[in-house]
Symmetry: C2
Subunit: 403 residues, 2 copies
Amino acid sequence: MNNFNFYSPTYFAFGRDAENQTGALVKRFCGSSAPDGSSAPDAAKVLIHYGGGSVVRSGLLDRVKASLDGEGIAHVELGGVKPNPRSGLVYEGIELARREGVNFVLALGGGSAIDSSKAIAAGAVYDGDFWDFYAGKPIEEALPVGTVLTIAAAGSEGSPDSVITNENGMFKRGASGDAIRPRFSVLNPALTQTLPPYQTACGITDILAHLYERYLTNTREVEVTDRLIEALMLTMIHEGPRVIENPDNYEARANIMWAGMMAHNNACGVGRSQDWNSHNIEHELSALYDCAHGAGLAVTMPAVFGYVMEHDVMRFAQVAVRVWGCAMDFAHPEVTARAGIAALRRFLKSIGMPETLGELGGKEEDIPRLVDVLCNGDGRPGSITGFVTLNEEDCANIYRRML
Amino acid sequence: MNNFNFYSPTYFAFGRDAENQTGALVKRFCGSSAPDGSSAPDAAKVLIHYGGGSVVRSGLLDRVKASLDGEGIAHVELGGVKPNPRSGLVYEGIELARREGVNFVLALGGGSAIDSSKAIAAGAVYDGDFWDFYAGKPIEEALPVGTVLTIAAAGSEGSPDSVITNENGMFKRGASGDAIRPRFSVLNPALTQTLPPYQTACGITDILAHLYERYLTNTREVEVTDRLIEALMLTMIHEGPRVIENPDNYEARANIMWAGMMAHNNACGVGRSQDWNSHNIEHELSALYDCAHGAGLAVTMPAVFGYVMEHDVMRFAQVAVRVWGCAMDFAHPEVTARAGIAALRRFLKSIGMPETLGELGGKEEDIPRLVDVLCNGDGRPGSITGFVTLNEEDCANIYRRML
């Protein structure tokens, strides 16, 4: 196991009606980020940041505002976050936050609203262009962020990460830092019951991807994190079909919601090298085709795993046996490894996910452009690194496997 | 799943030589507890609290002091913590902390040193008798606590809990509160390599007990936490024998150390009722016989589980199949359930744990006294409550099963 630091100070309020605690939570955590402790909680002014009409129609926005009002907390709002959140709205949010003297950013929604909120929180207290952080500059300071989650997927509610699409070139990049970790996150599984099955399935796929990206490691002797990852995968495989079959199944929603957070706050990924090639390969798909990130991952993962399987057949055999219930072929472990990848593919199809680039709106002739941005964009050295280092030819082969 | 809050803000520095970060970590986290943010980090004065000679002999105390000196942090020290830490030393520590104007308590050791440190931290800023907290008063304020862990067992390095033995009557009670959660914990698996096999096995048993106490729930539909608990149990079963066979196995020590923390920071226990009857029943044993807590649990758990198994046979069958690898007897699930308890008993024996009350120094004629303190001590209503409510007769039956 590698040396590591682990820090997950987010406060989670989980369960029915938990959003009614939002005002009290902002009050409790508002001043917690100021290095000199000088922001008095009662000085809070909140930017509520959200996406489309669903948080308005469902009444969630009103309930959250009532909760803030109940604590005497002022607020302004900015809607319009789209899936694969854009740099343009982040600039708008930064401008608004500065103009209004906001000192807390509250995300209402899924990973897109949260990631956009994190970008605004970091940009609002930074003199330069917020994109610097997404080009590699460390985030050292940010307004405190809180979240009210409406889809189990990105894990951004418990992570220090944010991914934004740069509209100047349509490519996605990530930034990370403890300063943008949510101070609190409200997780009410009932809020996810109105999600369409397709979006629910995209979330399930994203969570599985976060688990596979950690599972595919080159670090040896990591039984505890292997087992924790497998536990969360087994949970998703058990609960996923139940929630697709019955979207109102609160209990299945609750299990998925906690698994989604645990999959990405890194408690199950510490002390081991991780992959993230599938995410990188997918990011170019959702940036170019504006498909759902989860749908892109459903197409990407089997293609990547089949391509890199030879690098560590026993690792793929292990997940096949322990998670997918495949029988171990001791004479031919590669048969078991492949059976596990096939089981993943069947599972993703069974919950309604696409299998091919075409279903995402992609075409074979796009591949050179996808590969070029992936391997050379933003200063990358002609390859991407993870479980296996993949050069341009490898990436082109992987995209072709998606056809 | 039940509604819950989860908050685990402890910073973990994990790996070889991590104790050399202690000074920097005290500096970083010293002021973080003051409600008005007024404690400047450079005003730190640390009470180093530890047990016997091993932290002195191993050089750990010197390395930690050097790390504090390197940051210009003043320190005083108080050794002498014993297993099953006593109230007498807590009073002494409180007195010392006040006299010296200490504003940070640093535990060096295992659960005993940490629990004693937490009690001192709470008592030092409280006007009354610190035992009030162990008799049920909520802990609202405490000096910040940090830990340098030397045994994987109690999980106190990531928990808000503390258990102290009252020397006036020799009984153990627990207290809990976010204020006594460690601000940071240093986890260097190499520090545990010098532990004798018996103490190592006691730690493994305590961790398994923390997992069983959470597993035995009356809450339905808790797949995610069931799976996480099972993952940590599987880790202990895999790594435990490896570390007993080879105490220098750093990798096995590392997996156990992270599992021990994860078993008790409650990430795997949220949203479900828990048991804790085995802990309560054992606490009377280690209070009366001064045996190791883990050894007491090894004797207690199979006795309790066999006694309460009928309450939920399928739960015991589930852990038998998923964790202990027993075959499911679909016609007779109770056969499978019993096989799982027998497998636990064999495992504990295989790592050198005792099986009977006699091995702990107990005698049949002590049972009435044990039962009386357990069920009626400190205002209890003649029974203890958990997975199953156990009255005096039940508890007497359970103690007799240990003979």
